[in-house]
C-alpha cells in the first residue's frame, strides 16, 4: 500500500517547511505561556464592563490552562490549521507546481500507492508538528512551575490533531479531485473560511447563525469549551467533518486513478 522509497523522498523534501512552521508556531506558543505571570496581573485590572465583550472570546481566565485556551490555543488552531491545509493540498499539488508529474508518475508504482504514500507523509508531518507543540507547551508550564490538568491538556491536543488531520484530508482530497494546477491558494482559504465561521457562530446570539458551528471542524476542538468550560466534544461537528473528509477522500482515491497530468 505504501512505498518506503517514495515516502522517504517526500518526507525529506518536506522537512524545511515542517520545521519552519513547527518552530515558528511553537515559539509563539511558548512565548504566550511564559508571559502568563505578567498577563495575570493585567487581567485583575480589566474593568467589569469589558467582561461581557471578552466572554465572546472565552472570558477572563482563572488559571494558566484557561489562559492558554483563551489566548494561545486559538492561534495554534488557526495557524496549525493553515499548515495542515498546505500539507494536505501540497502533497499532491507540489508535483503539478514543480512539473515533476511526468518523471514521478511514470515510475512503476500504482497511483493508489502514490496517493496513500503522499497522504501518510502529510499526516506524519502534521503529527510531528502537533507533538512538538504539545511537548514544548508542557515544558513551558513546567518552567513556570504551574501545575495543569494533564488529562484535559492531552485530550485537547489529541482533538486538535484530529482537526488538523481532517483539514489535511479535506485539502488533500480537493487536490486529488481537481484538475492539475500550479496554484495552491485554495489550501489557505479552506481553514480561514472555517475559522471565520467558527468565530462568527461563537459571537452571534442568533439561533440560526449559531448553527454555523456545525459547518466548521474548529467547533469540536474548541479550546474554551474543552479546557475552560469543561464541556464535552461537540459531536455533530465531529461527525459532519469526519464523514465529509472520509467521503471526499474516497472520491479522491478513485478520481486520482484517472487524473490527467497536463502541466
Amino acid at each position: 500500500m505504501f512505498d518506503s522509497v517514495l515516502f522517504a523522498l517526500e518526507f525529506r523534501r518536506s522537512q524545511k517547511s515542517l520545521w519552519i512552521w513547527t518552530l515558528a508556531i511553537a515559539a509563539t506558543m511558548v512565548m504566550v505561556i511564559l508571559l502568563y505571570p505578567m498577563v495575570k496581573d493585567m487581567y485583575s485590572a480589566i474593568p467589569p464592563e469589558y467582561e461581557d465583550f471578552l466572554a465572546a472570546f472565552g472570558g477572563l481566565p482563572n488559571n494558566i490552562l484557561e489562559y492558554y485556551a483563551t489566548e494561545g490555543a486559538m492561534m495554534l488552531q488557526l495557524f496549525g490549521g493553515m499548515y495542515a491545509a498546505i500539507e494536505g493540498y501540497g502533497a499532491i499539488n507540489r508535483d503539478d507546481r514543480e512539473k515533476t508529474v511526468e518523471t514521478l508518475f511514470t515510475l512503476p508504482r500504482r497511483r493508489e500507492q502514490v496517493f496513500a504514500t503522499k497522504l501518510l507523509r502529510a499526516l506524519t508531518n502534521i503529527t510531528i508538528f502537533s507533538l512538538v507543540n504539545y511537548v514544548l507547551s508542557v515544558l513551558s508550564f513546567v518552567i513556570l512551575k504551574e501545575s495543569i490538568d494533564q488529562g484535559i491538556f492531552l485530550a485537547f491536543n489529541a482533538l486538535n490533531l484530529l482537526m488538523y488531520v481532517i483539514i489535511a484530508v479535506l485539502t488533500f482530497s480537493i487536490a486529488g479531485i481537481s484538475k492539475a494546477t500550479p496554484k495552491n491558494g485554495i489550501a489557505i482559504a479552506v481553514p480561514i473560511v472555517m475559522y471565520i465561521l467558527f468565530v462568527f457562530s461563537s459571537m452571534t446570539n442568533n439561533e440560526w447563525l449559531e448553527k454555523l458551528q456545525y459547518l466548521t471542524p474548529f467547533t469540536f476542538a474548541d479550546p474554551v469549551v474543552l479546557i475552560k468550560e469543561g464541556g464535552s466534544v461537540e459531536g455533530i461537528s465531529l461527525l459532519v467533518y469526519g464523514a465529509l473528509s472520509l467521503g471526499l477522500l474516497t472520491l479522491a482515491y478513485f478520481r486520482f486513478q484517472k487524473r490527467e497530468f497536463t502541466i
Binding site: 523534501r13 524545511k16 512539473k99 511526468e102 518523471t103 511514470t106 512503476p108
Partner: protein, 293 residues
C-alpha cells in the same frame, strides 16, 4: 511483434485539438522516429501512451497493456524522457539519481557508466542545472534500468553536438541489445541518422509512416546549374528557384537519363546533391498544404 500499437487515437482538451487521429505500430527492436513541427501533437501522443492523459477516443497498447488500465506494467519496462525533464529543484543531482535508482532497482554500475558517459556533475542542485544538464540527467534516469522500450520526447534539444552524438550512439547500442526506441523529434538530421522507420504528424494527424530505406530510395536530388537550362526539361526534373547566375532544380528518377540530358546542355558549372530528409519533408508539407511555408 509490435511493442506499441495505436489505433485511431484522438485527444481533445475541451474544444482544443491535442491529437486528431493516429494509427501506427512500432516493432520490437526498431528505432521509430516520430516527426512533426511544434504543436503537431507529438507530446500529446506520448502522454497518451504513458497513461498521463486519457483519450477522447481510440485505443493504444504497449506490449499488450493498456496505458489507462495497466500503466504500471508498462512503466516497469519503459524508460521515459520528457521534452522538459523536471526534477526536485532543491535536491542534489546525486540524491535525485539515488531516488530513481532505488525506485527502479537499477544497477549502480550502469548508473556510474551513464553519468561518466554524459559527464554529469552530480554535486550540483537541480535548480542550478542548465536546461542541457537537466536533459543529461533525464537521459541517465530514463536509461539507468536498461529498459526494453525507450520513449523519448525531443531528447537532444539542449544538448551540445558532442553530447548529441554520444546520445545517438548510445541509442544505437541499445537497439543492438534489443531495445525498442520511440523517438519524437523535429530535428530531422538525427532521425535520418538513426531511425528505421518514421511517422509524420501534422496538425494532429499521423499521416504517413515510412521505412527509412524506402525514403532513401525516394530521395530526390537537388541540382544547381549555371546558367539556366534552356528548352524542355526531361521528366522528373522540376525547376525550384532562380539563383544568382543560374537555376536550381529537383530531380526524381534514375541518374543515367539525367546525366545524358545534362551533357547536352551548355553549362559552365553544376552541383548535384541528395536532398536532405528535411527538404523532403518540407516538400511533403508544402504538397499537402500549398499555403504552408
Amino acid at each position: 511483434m509490435d511493442r506499441i500499437k495505436v489505433e485511431q487515437l484522438k485527444k481533445y482538451y475541451g474544444p482544443f485539438r491535442g491529437l486528431e487521429e493516429a494509427t501506427f505500430s512500432v516493432k520490437e527492436g526498431e528505432i521509430f522516429g516520430f516527426v512533426g513541427p511544434n504543436g503537431a501533437g507529438k507530446t500529446t501522443l506520448i502522454r497518451l501512451l504513458l497513461g498521463l492523459i486519457n483519450p477522447t477516443s481510440g485505443q493504444a497498447q504497449i506490449d499488450g497493456y493498456s496505458p489507462w488500465n495497466e500503466a504500471v506494467e508498462i512503466y516497469k519496462e519503459v524508460g521515459y524522457l520528457p521534452s522538459e525533464a523536471f526534477f526536485f529543484p532543491e535536491m542534489k543531482v546525486n540524491d535525485v539519481i539515488a531516488f530513481y535508482r532505488d525506485m527502479r532497482k537499477a544497477n549502480q554500475d550502469r548508473v556510474e557508466l551513464l553519468c561518466q558517459r554524459f559527464d554529469l556533475d552530480r554535486t550540483k542542485r537541480i535548480r542550478e542545472l542548465s536546461f542541457g544538464n537537466r536533459k543529461k540527467l533525464g537521459i541517465v534516469i530514463a536509461m539507468m534500468h536498461e529498459p526494453k522500450l525507450l520513449i523519448l520526447d525531443e531528447p537532444t534539444t539542449g544538448l551540445d553536438p558532442l553530447m548529441q552524438q554520444a546520445f545517438l550512439d548510445l541509442l544505437l547500442e541499445e537497439r543492438k541489445k534489443g531495445a525498442t526506441v520511440f523517438l519524437s523529434s523535429h530535428i530531422l538530421s538525427e532521425v535520418e541518422k538513426i531511425c528505421d522507420r518514421v511517422a509524420l504528424i501534422r496538425e494532429g494527424v499521423v499521416s504517413h509512416v515510412y521505412d527509412m530505406k524506402e525514403i532513401n530510395l525516394l530521395h530526390q536530388r537537388k541540382i544547381s546549374v549555371r546558367p539556366e537550362i534552356q528548352g524542355t526539361l526531361i521528366p522528373g526534373l522540376t525547376p525550384l528557384e532562380k539563383t544568382e547566375e543560374g537555376m536550381s532544380y529537383s530531380y526524381e528518377g534514375e541518374i543515367a537519363p539525367l546525366l545524358a540530358f545534362l551533357a547536352k546542355q551548355q553549362i559552365s558549372d553544376i552541383t548535384i546533391r541528395e536532398s536532405s530528409l528535411e527538404e523532403m519533408f518540407m516538400h511533403f508539407y508544402q504538397k499537402e498544404d500549398p499555403d504552408h511555408v
